[in-house]
């Protein structure tokens, strides 16, 4: 008995609906990987939330201190690391001190330390000041019970740092209360901003409990819709969302805001001229990932359209 190939009997509509998964995965992997070898600067208009965040961070005076909540690990490196790197580049170039703490994941403090060290080395290699642990920044480590920690930060910040130790360069751990970073910090209100870099719902935890310091969020793409609500209601002073947010910050660092030139970026959020950091290493993961993201999304749209066309054709044939 002759064996007939079932695929040969399929109509065009059925074929379009049954593209093998491995083929889709292969195409997706190729589309995600190939553009990484050909970095291109795509045209970009930063959104208001990114512009406001950039404006606020750039307005920080030299020597001021910000509190950074770092609640991400390598699982969301694709978005959160780019955000953290962009933030650190600005803070280090503006010589703003920072205190990092974590409430989401015990792995996060080490990931933060590695990222800070990487950007500090990058800055030093470019001939600029190298940020030193304990002198210029502190990593307080992990605090379980995010709700209780956030309440304590708001009501009695000194209770959070009491007993905590951090490593000065080439030295044994020392009590963080001895660090120059915390000089003059008695309450969370003494920080200029609380910047939350997160891949989880810790944004809600701090929003509900910390009221004494203005906040800005750096969130993953999936959190952009709910974070937009907080931004629209004025609860946060700006945010950076996903790869687009990272690319926004990198674009603003490269071209500045309201700076005359072929790539002038304007926003109704501010008419102030804010020069970025021309000639420095401003681009990173945002520029590297943005083209790949476009190709991957194009594949998704193509797959959705193909599947729907296939369903339409199959139904018409059936009718």
């Amino acid at each position: 008995m002759a064996i007939t190939d079932p695929a040969a009997n399929k109509s065009l509509g059925e074929k379009l609906q049954s593209v093998p998964k491995p083929v889709l995965y292969l195409v997706l992997f190729m589309l995600a990987a190939i553009p990484l070898f050909f970095p291109v600067k795509l045209p970009n208009k930063p959104i208001d939330a990114s512009v406001e965040m950039f404006t606020n961070v750039m307005a920080l005076p030299e020597g001021s201190t910000v509190l950074v909540e770092s609640d991400w690990t390598n699982s969301t490196r694709g978005e959160s690391m780019g955000e953290m790197e962009a933030l650190l580049r600005i803070l280090m170039r503006k010589k703003v001190k920072f205190v990092v703490y974590t409430i989401a994941d015990p792995q996060a403090p080490q990931v933060s330390r590695d990222t800070i060290r990487k950007i500090a080395d990058e800055e030093a290699k470019a001939g600029r000041y190298r940020y030193k642990p304990f002198e210029d920044y502190l990593v307080l480590g992990y605090y379980p019970n995010g709700e209780g920690t956030a309440s304590a930060i708001n009501n009695k910040f000194v209770s959070i740092v009491s007993g905590k130790k951090d490593w000065p360069e080439n030295s044994a751990p020392r009590d963080v209360s001895l660090s120059p970073v915390l000089k003059g910090i008695k309450s969370v209100a003494d920080f200029k901003y609380l910047i939350v870099v997160t891949a989880s719902s810790t944004t809600n935890t701090v929003l509900e409990r910390i009221t004494k310091v203005p906040m800005m969020f750096m969130v993953t793409g999936v959190m952009v819709p709910e974070t937009t609500t907080y931004y629209a209601s004025g609860q946060i002073k700006g945010f950076c969302g996903g790869v687009k947010g990272v690319y926004d910050l990198e674009t603003l660092m490269e071209n500045g805001l309201n700076v005359e030139g072929p790539n002038k970026i304007v926003s109704e959020k501010s008419t102030e001229v804010i020069p970025g950091f021309p000639g420095m290493q401003n681009t990173g993961k945002g520029m590297a990932y943005y083209p790949s993201l476009h190709f991957a999304l194009f594949l998704l749209i193509l797959a959705v359209v193909t599947g729907n066309v296939g369903m339409f054709l199959a139904k018409r044939k059936g009718a």
Partner: protein, 245 residues
């Protein structure tokens, strides 16, 4: 970090990444191995971090006090902290059939603390959003907002006036809120045709919102895949093995 150390670290990362992605082909032992390796590492790390970064510095050291370099007492021990230990240990009675009711004590304490915060938490989170939803829908200036680029910078940003285009945005916003709220009128039988239509529109608007949220979710997953591709092709192969910067 030496070159060899870095290359070994990158190689392990690349092998683990490939191992975890083999699940796309089918369930296999290579995938299972790296899944368990990851879980084991994460659990071990969490245990150590919990002791070194939390229990030791915030409970144990404070309870015992500390000595200065010359041997004298630097900080007094705070002995009442010892009371926290039996309360915490009660949580483990959950494994005993006879005494598991005791585990409800620490759970009750945690729930009590959490509940006490909720009124304030709710207020801080939602009241600004409710007040932010009260938007004006009556324009006070022309339709189009002037381009800030064409304005005299000395005058500063355009503030105060509500342009027609902004009022239209606000109107869409307010209508959306009303329609979506009307969708959740479950407590009584809705007979009004207006509310029924508004409710239907609310359902559609919710679906559009969920679609947008789903879109950002997919975008995020793609970003994570792109990052893994970057790690393997650029950081591991191009920079790590081939030394091309």
């Amino acid at each position: 970090m030496s070159y060899n150390h870095e290359l070994v670290s990158l190689s392990v990362g690349a092998i683990a990444t490939i191992g975890l992605y083999t699940i796309l082909y089918r369930e296999n032992k290579f995938y299972r191995f790296f899944e368990h390796l990851f879980l084991g590492l994460a659990s071990g790390w969490a245990l150590v971090a919990l002791w070194t970064e939390t229990l030791k510095v915030m409970w144990w050291d404070k309870m015992l006090g500390s000595a200065a370099a010359d041997g004298n007492q630097a900080a007094m021990g705070y002995w009442p902290y010892v009371m926290l230990l039996p309360v915490g240990l009660l949580g483990y009675t959950v494994f005993s059939k006879k005494h598991n009711w005791l585990s409800r004590i620490p759970i009750g304490i945690i729930l009590g603390f959490y509940s006490g915060q909720q009124f304030n938490a709710w207020t801080n989170r939602y009241i600004p959003q409710i007040s932010g939803s009260m938007k004006s829908i009556i324009p006070t200036a022309g339709f189009f907002k002037p381009d800030p680029n064409t304005l005299n910078p000395a005058l500063g940003p355009v503030k105060g006036d509500l342009y027609g285009s902004e009022a239209l945005n606000n109107l869409i916003f307010v209508l959306t809120i009303l329609c979506v709220l009307s969708y959740f009128l479950f407590s009584f039988d809705v007979k009004s045709k207006v509310i029924k239509n508004a409710s239907l529109a609310g359902r559609w608007l919710l679906m559009i919102g969920f679609g947008a949220i789903f879109g950002t979710t997919v975008m995020m997953r793609f970003s994570l895949l792109i990052d893994r591709m970057y790690f393997i092709w650029i950081e591991f192969i191009k920079q790590g093995i081939l030394h091309i910067k």
